[in-house]
């Protein structure tokens, strides 16, 4: 192996190269493949047509999440309830049939371990540091939070991994996002990643793998790191990474798929060796001053359209680039916003707390802290809390968090992708505004005509109780608002 100092990304990449072709394309070995119902049926079908098998079913785990309704899945007698939407039901049935047919572990929609694939992977210890992890979903980047090289793939690549356990790839460039200084009170990992995307832009990381560096990430919880890496794709990077450390090892120890005994010790020793070497260089480097990061809100229809909550809706004329000016004009028209309006004067109709970005226990705790003893404002028509997995839901219920949500006027749902992407019954109605802890504010993302404002869980809770986008720091009890 090369003796020059290497980055975390280069170390993981080098250890997984099966074959290097003359033109620089590499055959990369894949350690973990997560499969869900929406991007896999065509891949299994193609395998069948070609008479191919799954090379390593033991390295593959299937769980439905995207189009499952988040309403109860079993009746009072524990019998499974049917899914009304015929296409969704057929897609789920296809995964339920394909997984056992190809020998793949399957987590059933009614199992307590079911949840959003990117919550389930780390929670089950299936995702591990230093591993290459893929899934037919762009938010696979999330698993970089535990130090895995994880990225989203298309369905043809899903088929390729199923058949060969490898991918043909070219190594990406490396990019460092270094954050200096500590985050202020009430500023969460979600605010930080929204701010970072605002700085680098949605194409800022294209062709790169981002490594997030600096004390703030060392001090951040594992769940916060998963939130950060999750949205790397919104900055254009296929993957994001944070060096694995003791916090990650503590988080993974004893989880169902985690290594045990002698294997655990060997694994930890290797994981410790993965951190970027002193003197290693990055192709691109961005430095962010943590003092500049405030509770952050998106105002437009691209994740780079962000502003501090104390700010105003920007004027399209404030952008130097003419195409950005035009895009801002269109965005504001779609969002129904007038330039110059203070962000805190924008009323909201819906609140969504959930998604692979922000549905873990810390996220729910952070929102509950703001909601405790409060109720959603009268103008908030629909507020929904969707835990990332059945285990997160159980944990929250054991802590009484479900009661805090329901007492505040929230619906407490079953785990799934829910209102993040409008392919299950949870949708934001046309023309209505939603303070959402999800990851994309694209046109129509939460339903045709829906208007999304991306925020942290604590900020979503603050929006729920005030009925408008609000600065969580003004509501008190923000000193511990993590998430």
């Amino acid at each position: 192996m090369a003796s020059k100092p290497r980055t975390l990304y280069e170390k993981i990449w080098d250890s997984h190269v099966v074959e290097r072709l003359d033109d620089g394309t590499c055959l990369l070995y894949i350690d973990r493949h997560l499969v869900h119902e929406v991007t896999s049926p065509q891949a299994f079908e193609a395998l069948r047509l070609a008479g191919r098998t799954v090379r390593r079913p033991d390295l593959t785990l299937a769980v439905p999440d995207h189009n499952l309704p988040t309403t109860p899945r079993v009746d009072a007698d524990g019998l499974r309830l049917p899914i009304e939407d015929k296409q969704s039901a057929a897609q789920l049935a296809a995964l339920e049939a394909n997984a056992p047919a190809f020998g793949i572990d399957y987590i059933d929609a009614t199992a307590p371990e079911q949840g959003i694939v990117h919550v389930v992977g780390p929670e089950q210890g299936f995702s591990l540091p230093g591993a290459t992890i893929v899934c037919g979903d762009s938010h696979t980047a999330a698993h970089g939070g535990i130090g895995a090289l994880a990225f989203g793939i298309g369905t043809s690549e899903v088929e390729h991994v199923l058949a060969t356990q490898t991918l043909q790839l070219r190594q990406s460039k490396s990019m460092e996002v270094r954050v200096e200084g500590p985050l202020g009170p009430g500023v969460t990992p979600k605010d930080l990643i929204l701010h970072i995307i605002g700085v680098i832009g949605t194409a800022g990381g294209t062709g790169h793998v981002i490594e997030y560096r600096g004390r703030v990430f060392e001090e951040m919880s594992v769940e916060g790191r998963l939130t950060i890496c999750n949205m790397s794709i919104e900055g254009g990077a296929r993957a994001g990474l944070i060096a694995p450390d003791e916090k990650v090892f503590d988080y993974l120890k004893g989880r169902p798929y985690s290594p045990r005994g002698e294997a655990w010790g060997k694994a930890v020793a290797w994981w410790r060796s993965l951190a970027t070497d002193d003197g290693a260089t990055f192709d691109k480097s961005v430095i962010i001053d943590a003092a500049d990061v405030e509770p952050t809100v998106s105002w437009g229809t691209s994740p780079e359209d962000v502003v501090a909550v104390g700010g105003i809706v920007p004027s399209p004329d404030s952008f130097a680039d003419p195409s950005k000016r035009e895009a801002a004009r269109k965005s504001l028209d779609y969002m129904g916003l007038t330039p110059g309006t203070p962000i805190e004067d924008i009323p909201v109709d819906n609140i969504f707390i959930g998604s692979c970005t922000n549905s873990r226990i810390e996220d729910l705790r952070s929102a509950a802290q703001i909601l405790k003893g409060r109720r959603k404002a009268a103008n908030v028509r629909w507020a929904i809390a969707v835990p990332g997995s059945g285990l997160v839901k159980r944990q929250a219920e054991a802590e009484g968090i479900d009661r805090i949500f329901t007492d505040a006027g929230f619906e407490w749902r079953e785990p799934g992708c829910s209102a993040c992407l409008a392919m299950n019954p949870d949708k934001v109605p046309p023309g209505e505004r939603c303070a959402s802890t999800s990851n994309r504010n694209f046109v129509g993302r939460q339903g045709p005509g829906s208007r999304t404002h991306l925020v942290s869980p604590a900020m979503a809770a603050a929006a729920a109780v005030t009925g408008r986008l609000a600065d969580v720091r003004k509501l008190g009890t923000c000193q511990e608002a993590g998430g």
Binding site: S15, V18, E19, D23, T25, L27, P41, Q42, E45, A50, R52, R55, D58, L59, H66, N67, Q87, S88, A90, Q91, L128, A131, D137, S138, G152, I153, G154, T155, S156, E157, H160, A163, T164, Q165, Q168, T202, A203, T206, I233, G236, K253, G254, P256, Y257, P259, W264, K266, A267, W270, S302, S323, L421, A422, M423, R440, F442, V443, G444, R445, P448
Partner: protein, 201 residues
């Protein structure tokens, strides 16, 4: 993979930046277990607006789309590529593409041609009245007005497209290398092998 060499025809001058895959095919179209028939939902929100370029008669069945920076950003859904193919598009020209979309396009024989913004602007102009030609072998886009814009393409992808190679078939040709890697991995990174689900400790 379908063989691709030269694409000739009208080009839809969309020009927009940051066309995300939710715009190319909204999520409610993703509940299918097939690759077919997604053209109906392609660019649904854009096509719903009066006067959009997809409605212009000259562009009916056009094989080429011209867009702005960062085309195909967002979700990894390959349905975006399938939807474009289903509506007859076999090439996209833009100043840049998201990594995942570029891969998905390639796997489906859609040429993703990257050109500098000035050249894309010129092609947007030409597209209003004339056909474009994309010659993959020579890596060049030409117009009837003597424009000639060369583009770069990954040599591996170029070969696969020109020869219509089956990528999985190619990889399976490296089967013994993969097996060798697996044996090595069993020795050096044994905990990555055969994970077994056990009760949480």
């Amino acid at each position: 993979m379908k063989q691709v060499s030269t694409i000739e025809g009208r080009a839809i001058p969309l020009g927009l930046k940051n066309v995300d895959t939710d715009v190319i095919i909204p999520a409610h179209w993703l509940k299918t277990v097939s690759r077919e028939g997604l053209g109906k939902g392609a660019f649904e929100t854009i096509r719903a607006a009066p006067g959009n370029p997809f409605d212009v008669e000259d562009f009916a069945n056009a094989p080429i789309l011209i867009a702005g920076d960062n085309f195909g950003c967002g979700s990894s859904r390959e349905h975006a590529a399938w939807a474009m193919l289903d509506m007859g598009l076999t090439a996209v020209i833009a100043p840049s593409f998201s990594d995942i979309f570029a891969g998905n396009a390639f796997k489906n024989g859609i040429l993703a041609v990257e050109l500098p913004q000035e050249q894309v602007d010129r092609l947007l102009e030409v597209a209003a009245e004339a056909e474009l030609t994309i010659d993959l072998e020579n890596q060049v886009v030409t117009t009837p007005f003597q424009d000639r814009f060369e583009f770069e393409i990954d040599p591996f992808r170029k070969r696969c497209l020109l020869e219509g190679l089956d990528e999985i078939g190619l990889t399976l040709g490296s089967d013994s290398e993969i097996t060798k890697h697996e044996q090595m991995r069993e020795g050096t990174l044994p905990w990555l092998d055969k994970p077994k689900r056990r009760e949480a400790a």
